[in-house]
């Protein structure tokens, strides 16, 4: 039964190594045996999924605005623009000024050259704190700070796209993406918001972004393998990718009044914080599956599994224990996009529901075929280190 305060998805903005926009992604992801776009050389021994070529001008008209952002912010601002365009909101003053926004973000890129120079000099200096002051005061570009601050992705979306109803930035890896979608949906269901822009972006092509994983040895090394086949391989199992996903979530009534195309309904979104050190991850994921009120019958499941050994093994064990789930781990083809993982999973789920078709297996050794038109699709995001969430996307 649909109700006027249901949450529906009316806009999708996607970027990854596969291209930009829902159509490009659909086309590639539904090609059986599609091979991922990889770069194994630039950051060897790590493989990454690089950004496609992007004409930033298409979504960020002013060169001045582009200059004020590093790639991470540009990427998110660009994908947000795609989603707003897709929902017919971009350029509509009234809709933009009343639109709420929740962005999931980490930090931006540091100046690698400045950092490297300071580190090199530190080898021959004992007064490292003074060295730091000396170099940072003279060599940092003043506006770089603004390109690094987590909340400035949202800030740039306000400046470039004029979304100004409200602006919040959630931090905390995949969990931030889950909470962003969950909070946005709760606002709509309660009547607090009519339409919300929600999403995240991750730019992996920067040594510090890799370091964020590698301080705990999370990155996969050696030849690339699909997400489910990295247990026991060299490294920690995560292959990262640059990308972004933004969604326009809207109250059903609001979308209908505007006569907009509805991709899908966003059903229950649930989240958790399993105490993983106490071995609670498997039971935590199982509990979330229960809370999501899964429908009977075969269920296509878009998994944001990272490949991280422990978390991915736990997710696989719990999903495998439920034979109704036909799982697709999209990070096999896009890489892990951190804060953008859950919004990305929700987008792919909504596209499958909208087009009435599933995705072929991304890894024939670990995934089983799914036939027919999915009426509901499950999206999961089990954090590589902490926090879990999932959501059920249904036919509109």
């Amino acid at each position: 039964m649909s109700s006027p305060h249901d949450v529906v998805i009316t806009g999708i903005g996607l970027i990854s190594s596969l291209g930009e926009g829902p159509d490009a992604h659909w086309q590639k992801l539904t090609q059986p045996g599609f091979q991922p776009v990889l770069d194994a050389a630039r950051f060897a021994p790590y493989t990454i999924h690089p950004l496609p070529e992007i004409d930033w001008n298409l979504q960020i008209a002013k060169r001045g605005d582009q200059r004020q952002m590093e790639t991470w912010q540009r990427l998110g601002t660009y994908a947000a623009g795609l989603a707003l365009d897709d929902a017919g909101i971009k350029g509509n003053d009234e809709l933009c000024t009343t639109m709420d926004m929740v962005v999931a973000a980490g930090g931006g890129e540091r100046d690698e050259a400045v950092d490297a120079a300071i580190l090199a000099a530190s080898e021959s200096r004992n007064d490292r704190d003074v060295l730091l002051n000396e170099k940072l005061t003279t060599e940092l570009r003043p506006t770089l700070f603004l390109a690094q601050l987590s909340n400035l992705l949202a800030g740039n979306i306000s400046i470039v796209h004029k979304v100004t109803g409200s602006s919040r930035t959630f931090m905390g890896e995949e969990g931030a993406g889950v909470s962003a979608v969950e909070t946005a949906a709760a606002r709509i269901r309660s009547g607090q918001s009519t339409h919300v822009l929600v999403g995240g972006a991750f730019q992996t092509e920067h040594s510090d972004m890799l370091l964020g994983y590698e301080l705990a040895g999370y990155l996969h090394r050696g030849p690339w393998r699909p997400v489910w086949q990295r247990q026991g391989a060299e490294g920690g199992g995560v292959v990262t990718g640059s990308g972004s996903a933004f969604l326009v979530l809207e109250q059903r009534e609001h979308a209908k009044k505007r006569g907009r195309k509805i991709y899908a309904e966003l059903g229950p979104v649930v989240s958790g914080r399993a105490r993983r050190r106490q071995g609670e991850l498997n039971s935590g994921i199982a509990a979330l599956l229960k809370q999501a009120h899964l429908p009977d019958g075969d269920l296509l499941t878009i998994s944001a599994a990272s490949g991280a050994h422990v978390a991915t093994a736990a997710e696989k064990a719990v999903l495998d224990a439920n034979p109704a789930l036909a799982v697709r781990a999209f990070s096999t083809l896009t890489g892990h996009m951190k804060e953008a993982q859950f919004p990305f999973a929700v987008a792919l789920a909504a596209m499958a529901v909208d087009r009435g078709a599933g995705y072929p297996v991304f890894d024939a050794t670990a995934e089983r075929p799914f036939e027919g038109a999915p009426n509901s699709v499950l999206a999961t995001a089990i954090g590589y280190h902490q926090f879990e969430g999932l959501g059920l996307i249904k036919a509109a």
Binding site: Y46, Q68, G106, G107, D115, A116, S122, E123, R128, D129, V130, L132, N133, L136, T137, L140, P142, T143, F145, L146, L149, S150, N151, L152, A154, G155, S158, I159, T164, G165, S166, S167, R168, T169, F170, M171, G172, E173, A176, S179, T183, A186, R187, S190, Q192, S207, D208, L211, G212, E214, L215, A216, G217, L219, G235, G272, R273, R275, F387, E388
Partner: protein, 423 residues
Amino acid sequence: MANLRDHMGRPIVAVTGIGVVTSLGVGKKDNWAALTSGKSGIHPITRFPVDHLNTRISGMVDFLPSSSKGASHLTYELAETAAQEAVSEAGLDSGDFAGPLFLASPPVELDWADRFSLYNSDKNDGGAERLLRVARGLKELDIFETTQFGSIADRLADRFGTRGLPITLSTACASGATAIQLGVEAIRRGECDKALSIGADGSATAEALIRFSLLSALSTHNDIPEKASKPFSKDRDGFVLAEGSGALVLESLEAALARGATILGIMRGCGERADDFHRTRSKPDASPAIATVRAALADAGLSEDEIDYVNAHGTSTPENDKMEHLSLSTVFGERVGSMPISSNKSMIGHTLSAAGAVEAAFSLMTMRESVIPPTINYDNPDPAIVLDVVPNKKRNAEVGTVLSNSFGFGGQNTCLVMAREPV
């Protein structure tokens, strides 16, 4: 019998616990005594050398065990200390809080001390390659945890037994107020009957100071540190970087009354608006700030003449104080010259991610104690800003309602309206 629902039919949200840490000390008692005697917590920087720095003063919290252990550890300890005070005051189990956690905290980065020690633990190749190679050989997760944006909240969730996935957020200088707003909204939506909202910031590192300095945001009045933060003064020249934390236990009034808790105040309303003008400057006509104040009043169901006191954002930057004056005079009209409006930042500096929570804590105490903390260092009033800033000395006054402003870099604005009593 008080109403349990507000003017929009939503559960009324009460405050039953308050905790605070600033450069003035740990806890409400010490902070309040200092704040009402007009004492400044701004002092010369001793945590790191100040060679080459234009700004050599701050409101850092230098007296906690973690004060020298890096931004992540200090932010955690600040948050934990304030939350412990708040949860204890509320009379709740501090190991089994059983409600959600909303944490406003600064973005995290690998500390330079760790960067240096990792880099210099090896001699082969250089730059990022060396760091990555050393990193993957680490046996402990300690350094890794300091670089994960969700880790501080994860530890707090373990420590206090909060429920569910904790939310860590940033809306720049409005973050602390946003953490409170998220808690209020969760209770109003009926998702929980209590929430723990914390704003904490222990990120006053050399690099943070230099970054703000390069944006010309900081005061350089180094000679008399306690005089550097002078909101609404003619010679104000920037904010003073500071650290601190504020924590509130929020509860539905119904749940709080049912368990016989002491009601410390009521969160009446929250308003927010984003600015689309510029990354560091606000729209010259102050329209986003004006809309934010009005949204908070509307959410609270109060009119302009029902606000007794404004706890100003009052950063002491030329830009903010001018814009804040414009927004308040637009909303409150002629009344603006006669209503008390003071800035806690004159004494504690700008605690960034914590500011909205710290100042909400002080706003609630202002109502409970019937004392308005002053704006100190108000020696050269800005003639363009005609406000009753409660200059230099505290004032005894009955305060039933407070508006607390938070206006952030990146255009994120949040205002809170609090009341002493339920309706």
